[in-house]
């Protein structure tokens, strides 16, 4: 009786109640939460996740404790992936536009893929290279499918390296012979030197590194690992360091060279490692000979005592690990810096131990496009040679330096297809917009950028029934390939995925193929417990060249400040800007919310008459933007810093029209010898302008200096 009364008073449709007797086929049990293992796709780190699902809805994302990459931990961005799934502005069905920038009209999947396939077929029969495929660096099945499509339609494939991994891959290839990222075993280290590597926020595999960092600091009863950070701006990572060395931008390599020279000169290297890697000390010393302490101090603008101390400590503590990050890699001498960081690890004996380079040839190894390839593609677009372009999961209008001319070139492409989960600059301009399921609604094979030993592959899987009916991008590609080639026998995404799983190295403890698939589903991937052992035959190219001096666009007289761009810890390069949790989470260093800003040293600010919240025009040799000022006490006086990530003009409701995109300021300097981008080599000047809005910080600007009041 009572229950009947309660039920009849319930205004909800009975159709939304879950019957207990005949449970729904998605396995949900009323009142019970289920956990699905999957892989986070918010950045290339590929952390393992558990998604808590309650009555068919995803409630929370947590780290997978068994996953070797992140060991149960997860960053803010990974947890916010839920908001991508349930984003109110998600693209729910295909759209077509009759004219550029015109109104979007709903289309069926069949007609959209038909139009794409027929256009591709028509163009590819005319000539090769009429079609451009534009994606982030791909791995696994996605790479396979794009290769297939590229062959079928004789297309050019650009893998846009927005997070700038190419420099690191090249440096690893140059020094130790493999294009792979290095896994830094920080937990065992006693001394860690970061050359602008923001390992605790955005660099490569931040959760993995941060987890290890915690253990490095406090998991050993008698040892507390030391952490030194060298870079022109104190990043969140630098703030955790025991010492911050504010050196001149682009001279991180000089410091590394100085330390290497000091180690060799004072015989503070690890002889076994030097022998094992075949490092020719004599020629290496000769190459670095001019980088004595005094000269390094002068070039880096650091006190000699500091240079001496960090050199001595790097030789004194074992294990000592050095790593170079995105900041230094974005200079014209970026490759030198990363290479020299590897040299330091060889000298300290960490290379192959605490600094592990995965030397297996991996099916998923990404191959980002080089600068020349990018520039050529853009030039061809501009000249009207590209007649159709397909963009997937990219937003080059936001992440490429505007001076590359992508915007103008894009206007010359007559047929644009954009595949994305959320609306952005590209989907707003595309002639055909194809939605893709969110990262929690689809399968994907994932190869983490930093791969722990024994790691086979990560598996992303759907954790809820799709919010909107749509095929995965892989299936869309397969459909297009089928239609282009007229071959209906292309196998489906899922069967390819099962094949991939089956093809992984078999754990001797398990036997059946199918069991492997279920294990992959259960764990969110496959990995082996046992260590593969150290590398049999280390090789290196010796000697590592001396660092060149960085070049900058713009003269010091006209443009007195070097522009330091960094990837936003919350929004990355803008790919997470649509998620309100991340927009509202204060930036760790400035505590700014919902905005972007320019960081200025207090002394510089005083000279220019700027206070916190004033607006300035930041002008580079190529463009200018207006931003509010954060007076930032931990940045060099000759440097100003701007985070990437904001400045989207056409996207979803949470990121649209917020802040400014600093990539428009970047002039396209490169490292021509190595065909690498140098998008951190621009000078700027500041000009105070009238206020255009308020700057929101979660922390009170004056109170932020009064930590002594709470005993800090």
């Amino acid at each position: 009786m009572a229950a009947g009364g309660v039920l009849s008073s319930c205004t909800r449709d009975a159709g939304q109640l879950i019957p207990l007797l005949i449970p729904p086929d998605d396995g949900s049990v009323p009142g019970l939460a289920q956990f699905y293992a999957s892989t986070c796709l918010q950045c290339p780190a590929g952390c393992g996740i558990h998604v808590r699902v309650f009555e068919g809805r995803a409630k929370k994302i947590e780290g997978n404790p068994d996953h070797p990459v992140n060991r149960g931990r997860l960053c803010a961005r990974g947890q916010a992936a839920l908001q991508e799934l349930y984003h109110p502005d998600r693209i729910q069905q295909p759209f077509g536009r009759r004219e550029r920038e015109g109104p979007a009209e709903p289309e069926t999947w069949a007609s959209a893929t038909d139009r794409i396939a027929s256009r591709f077929r028509e163009l590819s029969t005319r000539a090769a290279g009429n079609v451009l495929l534009y994606t982030p660096p791909l791995q696994g099945i996605r790479l396979e499918l794009f290769n297939k499509l590229a062959v079928a339609v004789r297309a050019e494939h650009i893998q846009d390296d927005a997070l700038n991994t190419l420099v690191h891959l090249t440096a690893a290839r140059e020094v130790v012979g493999t294009s792979a990222s290095t896994d830094y075993g920080l937990a065992e280290a006693q001394f860690v030197l970061s050359l602008g590597a923001d390992i605790l926020e955005t660099f490569q595999s931040p959760v993995r590194f941060a987890e290890a960092y915690g253990r490095m600091r406090r998991d050993r009863p008698t040892v507390r690992g030391l952490f030194i950070y060298a870079g022109p701006r104190m990043s969140q990572t630098a703030a955790c360091a025991d010492e911050w060395l504010p050196l001149k931008p682009g001279t991180e390599g000089v410091l590394a060279a100085g330390i290497a020279r000091y180690l060799i000169e004072n015989r503070l290297y690890d002889p076994a490692s030097v022998v094992a890697w075949g490092l020719d000390l004599e020629s290496q010393f000769k190459v670095l000979n001019r980088f004595d302490v005094a000269r390094v101090a002068e070039m880096t603008d650091l006190p000699e005592t500091r240079v001496l101390r960090v050199s001595r400590d790097f030789g004194r503590f074992r294990p000592a690990v050095a790593m170079a990050g995105d900041g230094p890699a974005a200079h014209t001498n970026g490759l030198d810096t990363v290479q020299l960081s590897h040299l330091l690890n060889i000298l300290s004996g960490a290379m192959g131990q605490e600094a592990r380079v995965d030397r297996r040839v991996h099916p998923g190894s990404p191959v980002p496009s080089s600068v020349t390839e990018m520039q050529t593609a853009i030039r061809r677009m501009e000249q009207g040679e590209i007649l159709a372009a397909l963009f997937m999961d990219v937003n080059p209008l936001l992440t490429l330096p505007a001076s590359l001319g992508f915007r103008k070139a894009l206007a010359e492409v007559p047929f644009i297809i954009s595949l994305n989960t959320l609306p952005n600059e590209m989907t707003e301009r595309a002639d055909i917009v194809l939605p893709s399921p969110s990262t929690l609604e689809r399968f994907q094979d994932v190869y983490p950028v930093v791969r722990p030993t024994g790691f086979q592959l990560g598996l992303a899987q759907p954790v809820v029934s799709p919010l909107y009916e749509m095929p995965s991008p892989e299936d869309v590609l397969i459909e297009i390939v089928r239609k282009v080639t007229g071959n209906p026998r292309e196998s489906s995404h899922l069967s390819r995925l099962k094949d991939r799983v089956a093809a992984t190295v078999t754990d001797p403890r398990t036997g059946l193929e199918n069991e492997k698939w279920f294990r992959a589903l259960q764990q969110g991937g496959l990995w082996e417990e046992q260590d593969e052992g150290t590398l049999a035959s280390p090789i290196m190219k010796s000697p590592v060249p001396a660092p060149r001096l960085p070049r900058f666009s713009g003269t010091e007289q006209q443009f007195p400040f070097i522009l330091h761009l960094y990837v936003s810890p919350m929004l990355l390069d803008g790919r997470s800007a649509a998620l309100p949790w991340l927009q509202e989470a204060p930036d760790p260093m400035t505590t700014v919310q919902w905005n972007s800003w320019v960081e200025v040293n207090p002394g510089t600010a005083a000279q220019l008459g700027l206070v916190h919240g004033d607006w300035v025009e930041v002008e580079s040799p190529v463009a200018s933007i207006a931003l509010p000022v954060v007076v930032f006490p931990a940045i060099r006086p000759d440097v100003v810093a701007i985070p990437k990530g904001q400045g989207g003009e056409r996207g979803d409701r949470y990121s649209r029209g917020r802040g400014a995109n600093p990539m428009v300021l970047v002039s396209t300097e490169t490292d021509p010898e190595n065909d690498l981008p140098a998008w951190g080599a621009t000078r700027v000047r500041l000009q105070k302008v009238p206020s255009r809005g308020s700057l929101i910080t979660s922390g009170d600007p004056s109170g932020s200096y009064r930590g002594e009041l709470i005993g800090l």
Binding site: G699, D700, G703, S704, R706
Partner: protein, 455 residues
């Protein structure tokens, strides 16, 4: 030598003069009442908006969770000390010049405390859950928390409202009887009920006097306790700048200060509005001025003691609050000190100032501006700069808070205007009593008044 003179006016004429405000409403009265009503309506609209949308329409934030509503609350409670305190003290000390102003002051108390009592309600995040404050037996066994100064506050305010209303009503009984006798029809019935059958017998007068004196004696501790408790809303907390032992007496003095200033303002307005110059003479102003001077000195002394202790102790967080007050609200700080001390004390030392209507009006209004500012400076800066500096902030009221504040003043005015229309605004019987005790003597060519002390 001396010759007792007959009172110049007959009793009837005096009554007519004193009850003139109860005649048919003038056009001016209607316009005034309508204007005040409109402002109150606007404030009600603002409050409605706040109820529907949430307290976010006000300027309060984290860390400043209390703002204009609490400032208003303290201010209006302070004003309410005027009436009853003044009237009670004057009654008990047999100050004869009190008589014409008693009613006005007592009514003021009732209306200001009514306005004040609105503010905690407006201030609540969920005003519709007000009954949670009431200790009533319920199946859940839930009681309000008697440890909370806010609950003490509610008790004290309620006591004060009841006490001061009784005080006002008791004093009005003989006058209501006078009104009853002058009215016809329905009005007569209503006033008959209100007058509770007052006939003016000797016994009634004896009881009446006893009761008045008793009420006067009782209401003073209530008044003191009310404002002490209001101060404890602040002083009982850990908030640097609030947590101070001096707060209770400081608040009581502050309340009396603003209350007396308000009475002065009111007297000057009433005198003008109802042509009571004859009853409210410069002599009265002089006396009130002296009282105001003393209270101003006391207030300044308390403020000095409070600031000196903070400055000398220089406790980091308290000093941070202090410097913040100076930096962010320097103007208000100046306004407060000028209004409450720098102008008031020197000016009131002069007899000519005390006896001048315009000067007293200016000073009394300025004192209350200063006291409103003082309440702002007590409530806001300590909240804005609490213990954790990362969460420091600022506060400014929004139009909603300002509208409701304006409505509070208008509402008070409206209540007063209505009261003066329907109730005897001058304490008729008290004045008669005074008149009875006063005699005019001719001394040479001049006529002087003398007063017989009440026994």
């Amino acid at each position: 030598m001396t010759e007792r003179q007959e009172s110049k006016q007959s009793v009837k004429e005096m009554n007519a003069a004193m009850l003139s405000s109860m005649e048919a409403p003038s056009r001016g009265w209607l316009v005034l009442a309508a204007a005040l009503g409109a402002v109150v309506g606007w404030g009600a609209y603002a409050w409605g908006l706040q109820l529907v949308n949430g307290l976010g329409v006000a300027g309060i934030n984290r860390p400043v969770m209390w703002g204009f509503y609490i400032i208003n609350f303290v201010f209006w409670v302070g004003m309410s000390h005027s009436g009853t305190m003044v009237s009670a003290i004057l009654r008990l000390t047999n100050a004869n010049w009190r008589r014409p102003i008693l009613r006005g002051a007592e009514a003021m108390t009732v209306f200001t405390i009514t306005v004040a009592a609105m503010f905690p309600l407006i201030h609540l995040g969920r005003s519709w859950k007000l009954h949670y404050f009431i200790p009533f037996p319920n199946t859940l066994g839930l009681w309000p928390n008697f440890r909370s100064p806010l609950l003490w506050d509610i008790m004290a305010i309620n006591t004060y409202i009841i006490g001061s209303s009784l005080f006002l009503y008791l004093g009005m009984l003989p006058d209501l009887a006078v009104v009853r006798d002058r009215k016809q029809g329905l009005a007569k019935t209503i006033y008959s009920i209100l007058a509770m059958g007052w006939r003016g017998t000797a016994r009634e007068w004896r009881v009446y006097h006893k009761a008045s004196t008793l009420m006067a004696a009782l209401i003073i501790p209530v008044a003191v306790s009310v404002h002490s408790i209001v101060s404890w809303d602040f002083a009982m907390t850990l908030v640097p700048g609030w947590h101070s032992t001096i707060f209770a007496p400081y608040f009581v003095i502050g309340a009396i200060f603003s209350g007396i200033a308000a009475v002065v303002t009111l007297i000057l307005i009433l005198r003008r509005a109802f042509q009571l110059e004859e009853f409210l003479t410069p002599g009265h102003m002089d006396n009130m001025g002296k009282v105001l001077l003393v209270v101003s000195l006391l207030w300044s002394y308390f403020y000095f003691a409070e600031v000196l202790t903070t400055w000398y102790g220089h406790k980091p967080i308290e000093w941070a609050v202090f410097t913040f007050t100076g930096d962010a609200y320097g103007f208000l700080l100046g306004l407060m000190v000028v209004g409450n001390t720098c102008i008031t004390i020197p000016a009131l030392c002069f007899r000519r100032v005390r006896r001048s209507g315009p000067a007293m009006l200016f000073i009394s209004i300025f004192v209350n501006i200063g006291m409103f500012t003082e309440r702002f400076l007590i409530v806001v800066p300590p909240l804005a700069h609490r213990n954790v500096p990362f969460m420091w902030g600022t506060y400014a009221p929004t139009w909603v808070e300002l509208s409701i504040t304006a409505a509070a003043f208008a509402g008070f005015g409206l209540l007063y205007v209505l009261f003066s229309r329907f109730m005897p605004i001058v304490a008729i019987s008290d004045v008669h009593e005074g008149e009875a005790l006063r005699s005019h003597h001719r001394l040479g060519r001049r006529t002087v008044s003398t007063m017989t002390e009440e026994g």
